[in-house]
């Protein structure tokens, strides 16, 4: 199948206009010696029907049909049909970056609404038009804190998503920034004594995640106060954006920069991407914010309109002195999140978040009552919690899988101190019947 739109007659006439006898002549600028002298070794072209069959067959190799309690930074949530339907319109899917605002007011107004929603959720003054994902958001926040404070050390909670920590390390490696890890206590919250020992006047930021990777909600206010006492910034990472529907906005608790993953807001799991990094901060840090920003203005007739703005921070103007090398955003993912948030609305988002917390609480209590299972960390949780099992997780996992259940994420590889522990996530999509089935199955596997 081809997507070319030229007839043979067109081709002939266009070659004549271009002043060449054959298409090949257009490549005369490429030295003969390096040209590919054979056809590419690719499978034969497919019709649409053959393509669909091929992809169906590939997809069928994924195991399907299991009830999942996996979370850890990616969550299965309800997505209203209207989100898929509206976000798949060609006018949202197929434009470029809105560099010509007169013909991009749809995307630009949407981004302005997105920024407003992110500000409302995070309790901060300004937000950008999105970053690649939560992990790169965390890395950008660290670099931003370094620019704001001029300090080259950050304290990073060990309970920050392990993959986010890896990405931060990769980003700062060549920039002379040091990341020091701060452990967690028996509650699962950041170890305040350790933090107190490590926090001094050389620290740019205290970076925590809340709810953290172990599901525990941090005392954001106390962490922000501690950071501010040393003139460091408080960076809060939110990997489960839905929690913001119920928990107090981190910005209202003192956070200076809030960044995170917006996948929960209307994006399918999709094996980890495309996702949606978001970032908000206090307005005094505006000039150090990475990424695109949309602003409101007027046209020459005085009508309200929207444009990309403050681009002197960005790489196409400032080149190597830019706030980040990022040159795009996750616009279509932000479109989905905007439609999702506006559809759920004030009541719906809170209700969804509340149901997550209720169902997780129910599941945690029921699972902890199973012989051979105990709650590992005592701190408050949103929709995820850690259980310690009397048997090694791989064996339990295999047993549950045989019963059609993905019980959670085994923590032993990322946290050797949490051997035989599992992170269980319960969203609004898990019914009481499914939770009870997990309880029964775990009982059977452990007995």
């Amino acid at each position: 199948m081809s997507y070319l739109s030229l007839s043979d007659k067109d081709k002939k006439e266009m070659l004549a206009r271009a002043g060449v006898g054959a298409v090949d002549e257009l490549f005369a600028c490429i030295p003969e010696a390096v040209r590919l002298k054979r056809p590419l070794d690719l499978p034969p072209a497919r019709s649409e029907l053959e393509l669909v069959r091929t992809i169906d067959a590939v997809g069928a190799k994924n195991a399907a049909g299991r009830v999942s309690f996996l979370g850890g930074g990616a969550y299965e949530h309800f997505i209203p049909t209207v989100v898929d339907y509206l976000a798949s319109r060609g006018e949202f899917v197929s434009p470029y970056t809105p560099y010509q605002p007169e013909v991009s007011q749809g995307t630009l107004q949407l981004m302005f609404e997105f920024q407003t929603l992110v500000c409302q959720l995070t309790g901060l003054d300004i937000a950008n038009d999105s970053l690649y994902d939560g992990s790169t958001g965390a890395a950008e926040a660290v670099l931003m804190a370094q620019r704001v404070t001029g300090r080259n050390k950050v304290l990073i909670a060990r309970s920050l998503h392990p993959q986010y920590r890896e990405v931060v390390r990769t980003y700062i490696k060549n920039l002379g920034v040091e990341a020091v890890e701060v452990g967690f206590g028996s509650e699962g919250r950041i170890d305040k004594d350790a933090l107190g020992r490590l926090l001094d006047d050389t620290v740019a930021a205290v970076v925590c995640q809340s709810p953290n990777f172990l599901g525990v909600i941090e005392d954001v206010q106390a962490l922000a106060d501690a950071a501010h006492a040393r003139k460091a910034l408080s960076v809060v990472v939110v990997a489960e954006a839905l929690s913001l529907g119920l928990l107090e906005a981190p910005g209202k608790l003192g956070a200076d920069i809030v960044t995170g993953e917006g996948q929960s807001l209307g994006l399918p799991l999709s094996f980890g991407g495309a996702y949606l990094g978001f970032m908000a901060c206090k307005k005094e840090f505006l000039r150090q914010m990475p990424g695109r920003i949309t602003g409101q203005t007027v046209d020459k007739d005085g009508r309200r309109g929207f444009v990309l703005t403050l681009s002197t921070r960005e790489q196409h103007i400032r080149r190597e002195r830019a706030t980040s090398n990022i040159c795009s955003n996750q616009a279509l993912c932000a479109v989905r999140a905007t439609i999702f948030l506006e559809t759920l609305g004030k009541q719906g988002l809170r209700e969804m978040a509340w149901q997550n917390a209720q169902k997780a609480a129910y599941a945690a209590e029921a699972l902890a009552a199973v012989p051979g299972v105990k709650r590992r960390l005592t701190g408050p949780v949103f929709n995820e919690f850690v259980l310690e099992l009397a048997k090694p997780w791989p064996a339990v996992d295999a047993g549950l899988r045989a019963k059609g259940i993905i019980g959670g994420y085994g923590l032993g590889a990322d946290y050797p101190e949490l051997k035989n522990a599992v992170l269980v996530a319960v969203t609004e999509l898990r019914t009481k019947g499914e939770i009870d089935r997990l309880v029964r199955s775990l009982q059977e596997v452990l007995s």
Binding site: V34, L36, E48, F92, A127, Y132, N174, G273, H316, G348
Partner: protein, 485 residues
């Protein structure tokens, strides 16, 4: 388009108590002391409350205010705005992929891993490289990853070095990415053909230079014909060559970067392989490398043995992760589908007809618009507003007037080495009718510039808003809606 439609912000049509979504009632016993001792929100202050009808209308009206590829030619240079096949949208959202969690163990996601590994193989073949990582989420992210790989390889040789050479025609992300890798940027001047000047390169290329970042074809749409010699000069001094593959669409099936001395490159799948731009993203910027750089690739690496796929984390020399999970998977699936659909012949035809369409436009507009460089064009051509300036008309006026003709403007004012640039890339998927419409519009505008320049200064005339005050937007930033007190 109905010009008079005004669409308020959603917050301005919100009214207490309305809703567009409901959940089933909670089916577990509700706990009263839930989240005791935790700071909980009293309410989502000023969050929108609207009906589903209002949601549907709001976003449909906003959609109507966007120009897009589905509507017409979108000739943004270096952006490769080609048609985005609809079946790829459907397949990227395939239930088998959409429902799959990124932390699932490898034996439950064999389909995902097969899709990724297959795409890696296709990209290796097309680019002539030894391995690809699919983790980078965009072109700039790919540059960053590629330059980190180069740094790691040079460190392994004993010296990471200090400088990175970048031509003055390069995209701004190149210097910015090199900077994040801890390098200082040195600019190389272009010669009168618009390509890298070999003498300047030879002089700049010392044993303190880590790499040259080169875009080929460059941002003028000109092929760096000396590319093999360029690579030799860099390699002779122990440096490596990074290629920004933003313009890969001009080369597919014709020549492979790996065969012309490139050590690492990224490919923008949202350009060359038709994944939609989505109004600014998500994209994907996979990075291809030669053997020497393979040990440093981000973890995990997908390994295959006898048709079973596993994730290899045991790579001590790896630069680490550059993104959580596996990159923009849904974008990667679309690119896979595109290559499967086109096959070898189709992938070559992409480049062939991208060049034909661009050269057709160039020949049709030569004389009407100034062409700074006479060097042959590949997939795009860069005109300037020099002729029109005589009548007080700038590239901005030309761009805005094009909107009145129902065409998206070309890339403006880039590359920086062409003053008043109009950078035109039609892509291969365009019909003769749409190309001719663009050419006719450009000719009409050239005529208007002489006869009635004011109509250009006032353009666009048919949009929901006229020219916007961008200076005021930056000077007095209003970056969110707030309830009026």
């Amino acid at each position: 388009m109905i010009k008079e439609i005004r669409e308020p912000l959603i917050f301005e049509i919100s009214a207490e108590g309305k809703r567009a979504a409901e959940l089933p009632p909670l089916d577990v016993p509700a706990k009263r002391d839930l989240l005791a001792g935790v700071a909980v929100r009293r309410e989502l202050e000023d969050f929108p409350e609207v009906s589903e009808t209002e949601i549907a209308r709001h976003f449909t009206r906003l959609a109507q205010k966007n120009y897009c590829v589905d509507l017409g030619l979108y000739p943004l240079g270096s952006c490769t705005m080609k048609y985005n096949p609809k079946v790829n949208e459907r397949l990227s959202a395939h239930p088998a992929f959409a429902a799959s969690h990124p932390l699932l163990p490898a034996d439950l996601i064999q389909g995902n891993l097969e899709a990724l590994k297959t795409l890696e193989g296709f990209l290796c073949e097309i680019a002539g490289m030894d391995a690809f990582t699919l983790q980078p989420a965009a072109g700039a992210h790919g540059e960053l990853t590629g330059m980190m790989l180069i740094r790691a390889a040079l460190e392994a040789r004993g010296n990471a070095r200090k400088y990175v050479l970048i031509p003055d025609s390069a995209h701004g992300t190149n210097p910015s990415s090199a900077h994040i890798c801890g390098y200082t940027v040195k600019e190389i001047k272009s010669n009168e053909k618009g390509t890298i000047d070999l003498a300047s390169l030879t002089e700049a290329m010392t044993d303190e230079v880590a790499a040259l970042m080169v875009t080929n074809p460059n941002t003028l749409g000109v092929f760096e014909s000396d590319i093999c010699r360029i690579a030799e000069i860099v390699h002779a001094k122990g440096g490596l060559v990074y290629m920004d593959g933003a313009n890969m669409n001009a080369l597919t099936g014709i020549v492979r970067p790996g065969d012309m001395g490139i050590d690492a490159l990224h490919i923008n799948l949202h350009k060359t392989f038709s994944t939609p731009h989505g109004g600014g993203g998500p994209g994907a910027g996979p990075v291809g490398v030669k053997k020497e750089l393979m040990p440093f690739l981000p973890v995990p690496v997908i390994a295959e043995k006898d048709g079973r796929y596993t994730l290899d984390f045991d790579r001590p020399k790896s630069i680490g992760r550059v993104r959580a999970y596996f990159g923009n998977f849904s974008v990667l699936v679309r690119a896979l589908c595109y290559i499967l659909t086109l096959g070898a012949k189709g992938v070559r035809e992409m480049a062939e007809f991208a060049l034909l369409n661009a050269n057709y436009i160039r020949k049709s507009l030569e004389g009407e618009y100034h062409l700074k460089y006479a060097t042959p064009s590949m997939h795009e051509c860069v005109f300037s507003d020099k002729f029109q300036k005589e009548f007080g008309v700038t590239n901005l006026d030309i761009a805005k007037r094009l909107i009145d003709f129902g065409v998206h403007p070309p890339t403006m004012s880039f590359p920086l080495i062409v003053h008043g640039a109009l950078m035109i890339e039609p892509t291969e998927t365009e019909s003769r009718r749409d190309l001719d419409h663009f050419i006719d519009a450009m000719k009409a505008i050239a005529k208007e510039a002489k006869e009635n320049p004011d109509i250009l200064h006032q353009a666009p005339h048919v949009t929901y808003v006229s020219r916007l005050d961008e200076v005021a937007a930056a000077k007095y930033p209003v970056l969110r809606w707030e309830k009026k007190p």
